[in-house]
């Protein structure tokens, strides 16, 4: 079958404005959209730029908008689309476009770093492992599926809105959740101080887009809600 694509193009060295280019490629139903993009590069236009690495939804490189929805190009298959439709491929929103589908991820990783994405401990660990019960581990087991693809942050209406774009975003909050609810972590106070503000956990307006697009099926909105609850509980404890 022949699949039709309309792809966002922009090369700052050549183009004053972004534009869309149409391509048609031979494809089979089980092909990934990533396979189609690679076929376009191989057969039609090798100047098309996009990131990729593992090709099966583990590395998080190939986040992009497919028919308007942030997704991994390696996780969407041709059979998910109608043969007659034109598949629209665009870069992730929220981030600055560098070239074609490649966006500037630096601000994403800066925000990620700002939440202190590592175990904070004050006590000396034992010689062997720290204990953690199966139940304690279960509390954050969904969050460790996060691959930092940024699909959630790119789809978040709060991050997309210029007036609220300082919001730290769902991906950073998922990682905060992962440490806040890890029984081994002793940094709750520091973490809560970082999150208890309008651009932190309270920036979330419960729009559910993050949960909807997450390629790893992480209950993102629910986890952000749990963070908010934890912040409130910590205040109650103080009183």
């Amino acid at each position: 079958m022949i699949m039709k694509f309309r792809i966002f193009r922009y090369d700052p060295d050549k183009d004053n404005e972004p534009y869309y280019q149409s391509y048609e490629v031979e494809a089979s139903p089980k092909d990934r959209i990533l396979d189609c993009l690679n076929r376009i590069r191989a057969e039609k236009d090798s100047t098309l730029s996009f990131r990729m690495s593992c090709g099966h939804g583990v590395c998080g490189s190939d986040g992009m908008r497919i028919n308007g929805t942030s997704s991994l190009a390696c996780q969407k298959l041709v059979k998910d689309f109608d043969e007659n439709e034109v598949i629209l491929i665009e870069p992730l929103e929220v981030f600055r476009v560098i070239k074609d589908l490649v966006v500037d991820m630096d601000p994403f990783f800066e925000r990620y770093y700002s939440i202190k994405p590592y175990l904070i401990t004050n006590t000396q660990p034992p010689e062997e492992e720290r204990f953690q019960s199966v139940e304690e581990h279960r509390l954050f087991k969904d969050a460790i599926r996060c691959i930092l693809c940024a699909c959630c942050t790119a789809s978040c209406p709060v991050n997309q809105d210029k007036s609220t774009q300082a919001y730290i975003g769902p991906a950073a909050l998922v990682r905060s959740f992962r440490y806040l609810f890890d029984s081994r972590d002793e940094g709750s106070q520091v973490r809560i101080a970082l999150l208890d503000n309008k651009d932190g956990a309270w920036g979330c307006q419960t729009k559910w887009m993050c949960t909807k697009v997450c390629p790893k099926e992480i209950p993102v909105t629910k986890e952000i809600f749990e963070i908010k609850k934890r912040i409130l509980d910590s205040k109650k404890d103080k009183k």
Binding site: P12, D13, R41, H56, G57, R130, V134, H137, E217
Partner: protein, 571 residues
């Protein structure tokens, strides 16, 4: 631009990150990676990391050592294996203390599971030795180590592609990089350079490896005159998802999954009566393809991996990722239906020869290549010999990544920066210009696909002289075609076509080295199976192959045998 650091690490996978964490406090260290951090292929490791911590049942490092040596078909250097398995428990506790979210057993300790070739009492029965975090172990360790690098402010040159290593008076003194985001060339001076660039699975058509696994580091070293060791040993993982080749972790069998042929038979009972589906990978891959050859596979050339008896809860808790892959890519639910699998190129046992502190060796006598270090899949210490056991690769990266960093720290204290001329930068500029200016009739994709098919047809699980020679002839003619490749993209920013052209040059060189090494080894050992020489030949081939660019191209190095004398390898 020119930059200067004490230590430059090429590659941001587990070996590179672990090394960086080790030396960042005492040395000025930078990591160069051609992808963004956390996109390296270590993240695709699923099943676990082995250590004889015995959380589930009795275990000892001596058993782990025996299994690793036997798994390697007695080609691993036993001094190196001993170092690795003895260090393994420390590695696990260290990762746990850093925050790695290991799965837990009912006692709250790190959970462990079965993995192929890992046994108790020297081969008597399978032992639970693999520490894991569901089936995303590599990814969570990669994330944790990246977070540690951020915390310690390791400098990253991300999306920088290394074009060449710089040698001054025989010492590696830096490297030249191409910044993908700007097209600029940089000369980075260093007192020590660590190659941690991973494997080269993308030489083969069917592989579990990501797009970035093109073996650049291996060939950068080779072009600089370093031999490559044991390159004939390429591991085909038995259970790649058919037809994509994506990894379906051995953890699936560790948790009780069973391989079945088209008659529904548990065929591994015939090939490995003691441990069955948990035999070493080379054994299981050959068994699967034998079933297919003898007409007991499914049309297209695959068998079934059956998890349906495990129950949904266990499958989703311990094998979430692979369940998701199978559902997405094949539309099959492994809770209720078997998974179609076939062998997929997974891991390179061979690589850049090093001592047990990661110092690169430049010949069979063990002379050190000054300033150059290697760790992880691109290195060959050798702990995996002719066949690696599952979950020993993550261990390898963490043990030797750290040891390498310790050696570099000590070595760089003693020396200053060697003055570096601008010549390497000029040379790299010329190379890029000539690639971009070249007119020709070939395209990268055509040459690359041909290479991948040739290697699959003639140099995968079963090999023989006729096929290997055909493969060699084919690769050599592809090299001629490669010199006629034209790069259409003349752009400056994210010109992936240009990078892929350089990568393809490396891949073709490495394909040739692999074929030659396979031709020279006229025996069958581990992952290298010669149908024309089906038996192991310890008398003539219990030795490491070293391939040089200069004649004599093949030389040999003895195997270090300390505790375990070679014996028949039966599972």
């Amino acid at each position: 631009m020119n930059f200067k650091h004490d230590i430059v690490i090429i590659g941001a996978g587990l070996a590179g990150l672990r090394a960086a964490v080790e030396c960042v406090e005492e040395a000025d260290v930078a990591i160069v990676t051609k992808v963004l951090p956390t996109r390296s292929h270590s993240g695709a490791a699923q099943g676990g990391i082995t250590a004889s911590i015995g959380n589930e049942e009795e275990d000892h490092w001596e058993w782990h050592m025996f299994d690793t040596v036997k798994g390697s078909d007695y080609l691993s250097d036993q001094d190196a294996v001993e170092i690795m398995v003895k260090d393994a428990p420390r590695v696990i506790y260290e990762l746990e203390h850093m925050g790695v979210p290991f799965s837990r057993n009912p006692e709250g300790k790190i959970a462990q599971r079965n993995f192929g070739g890992h046994t108790s009492e020297y081969g008597k029965k399978p032992v639970k030795r693999a520490c894991y975090a569901s089936d995303r172990t590599g990814r969570v360790v990669l994330d944790t180590l990246y977070d540690q690098c951020l915390r310690h402010q390791v400098k990253f040159y991300q999306e920088h592609y290394v074009l060449s290593l710089v040698f001054e008076e025989g010492k590696c003194s830096g490297l030249v990089t191409y910044d993908l985001s700007s097209g600029e060339l940089n000369l980075i001076e260093a007192k020590a350079v660590l190659l941690a660039t991973g494997g080269c699975g993308k030489i083969f058509k069917t592989t579990s490896n990501g797009f970035a696994s093109t073996g650049d580091g291996l060939n950068l070293a080779h072009r600089a005159g370093i031999p490559l060791m044991d390159m004939e040993f390429v591991q085909f993982h038995p259970t790649g998802l058919y037809p994509l080749g994506i990894l379906v972790s051995e953890a699936a069998r560790g948790e009780g999954g069973i391989l079945r042929n088209n008659k529904g038979e548990r065929f591994m009972e015939r090939y490995a009566p003691t441990v069955k589906d948990l035999a070493a990978r080379d054994v299981v891959s050959r068994s699967i393809l034998t079933e297919v050859r003898e007409g007991r596979g499914f049309e297209g050339g695959y068998v079934h991996l059956d998890l349906t008896h495990l129950g949904e809860e266990k499958i989703l808790e311990r094998l979430w990722e692979i369940t998701s892959f199978v559902r997405i890519y094949l539309g099959i639910d492994p809770v209720h239906e078997p998974i179609p699998v076939y062998p997929t190129c997974h891991y390179l046992m061979g690589g850049i020869p090093t001592d047990t502190d990661g110092r690169v060796l430049q010949d069979e006598s063990g002379a050190i290549a000054k300033g150059l270090y290697a760790a992880g899949e691109c290195a060959c210490v050798s702990v995996h010999g002719a066949n690696r056991l599952g979950c020993n690769s993550l261990l390898d990266t963490l043990v030797f990544g750290r040891r390498c960093a310790k050696a570099m720290k000590t070595d760089v204290l003693k020396i200053g920066h060697h003055p570096v001329s601008l010549e390497p930068l000029e040379k790299a500029k010329e190379m890029i210009t000539s690639l971009l200016d070249r007119k020709g009739s070939e395209k990268i994709d055509g040459v690359r696909r041909n290479m991948q098919s040739l290697m699959m047809d003639y140099c995968s699980v079963f090999r023989d002289e006729k096929g290997l020679e055909k493969g060699l002839e084919g690769i050599r003619s592809l090299k001629t075609r490669f010199s006629d490749v034209e790069i259409v993209d003349k752009g400056r920013i994210f010109n992936y076509e240009l990078m892929e052209a350089v990568e393809l040059g490396h891949q073709l060189d490495l394909a040739e080295v692999i074929l030659l090494s396979a031709l020279y080894r006229k025996e069958s050992r581990g992952a290298h199976f010669r149908e024309d020489f089906p038996a192991r030949d310890d008398k003539n081939y219990l030795k490491h192959t070293l391939m040089f660019r200069e004649a004599p191209e093949v030389r040999y190095k003895p195997v270090a045998i300390t505790r375990f004398q070679p014996e028949a390898r039966v599972y």
